[in-house]
Symmetry: C2
Subunit: 112 residues, 2 copies
Amino acid sequence: MQVRSKIWLAVDGEPVFGSGREALFKAIDRLGSINKAAKDINLSYRKALSYIQTMEQRLGEQLVERKTGGLHGGGAHLTKEAKEFMKKYEQLEEGINEMLDKKFQDVFGKGN
Amino acid sequence: MQVRSKIWLAVDGEPVFGSGREALFKAIDRLGSINKAAKDINLSYRKALSYIQTMEQRLGEQLVERKTGGLHGGGAHLTKEAKEFMKKYEQLEEGINEMLDKKFQDVFGKGN
DNA sequence: CAGCGTTGTGCAAATATGTTATAACGATAG
DNA sequence: CTATCGTTATAACATATTTGCACAACGCTG
């Protein structure tokens, strides 16, 4: 038996950023394309796009700058705001899993 | 903006206990019936039952003792094992939210 | 032995999710 | 100036999953 956890940020109760979106952002940053990023992390382009759209809508700022047409067909890259957001999320996550694992050992480890 | 979290236990990667199931267990304990419990926490009876069944299957022990027929048509109540499980889960959750809220303030509070 | 309210299951409807097709775009090559 | 290319973006379709409803079985009670 293992313990799992998920941390995410919400606006008005609706999720705007979590581990899935973080992975998407990282892939976009690495590959320069929503399409390639989605494939890389095994996500449909549709879902990836709707993630981005709802995030931007709920936060009220652009996170992924995208260009259609042009060299190589276009592409996408993260805005400064998106990178800051990612960084903060990582700080938030930091240490939580370790703490949870420790607690899990305390509670479930010896007794059972 | 708020931070949210979810903690659950898994066996072989498949979830066996989380906040939803905890709420179901509490309602069963209070109402003595899966049916009433499901309605109380806005869950379909089918889903509630499949939760219980998969949990019991994966853990290999009975968690909800149920009787069909008889006084008031039957009913259900938690086994000793289920109550112990709930207690441990609560211990596991304890303090995590407080710690997260504090971290959230640290990271998102002043800067933005 | 009929009535009751529950557990449990089968099936259709509804909803969510995934997949494929296609249009628009604009720099570049020819 | 036109064709090509890979991308963004949307629409239409297909597939899984969830939900809702109906109904049988059960066993205590009056």
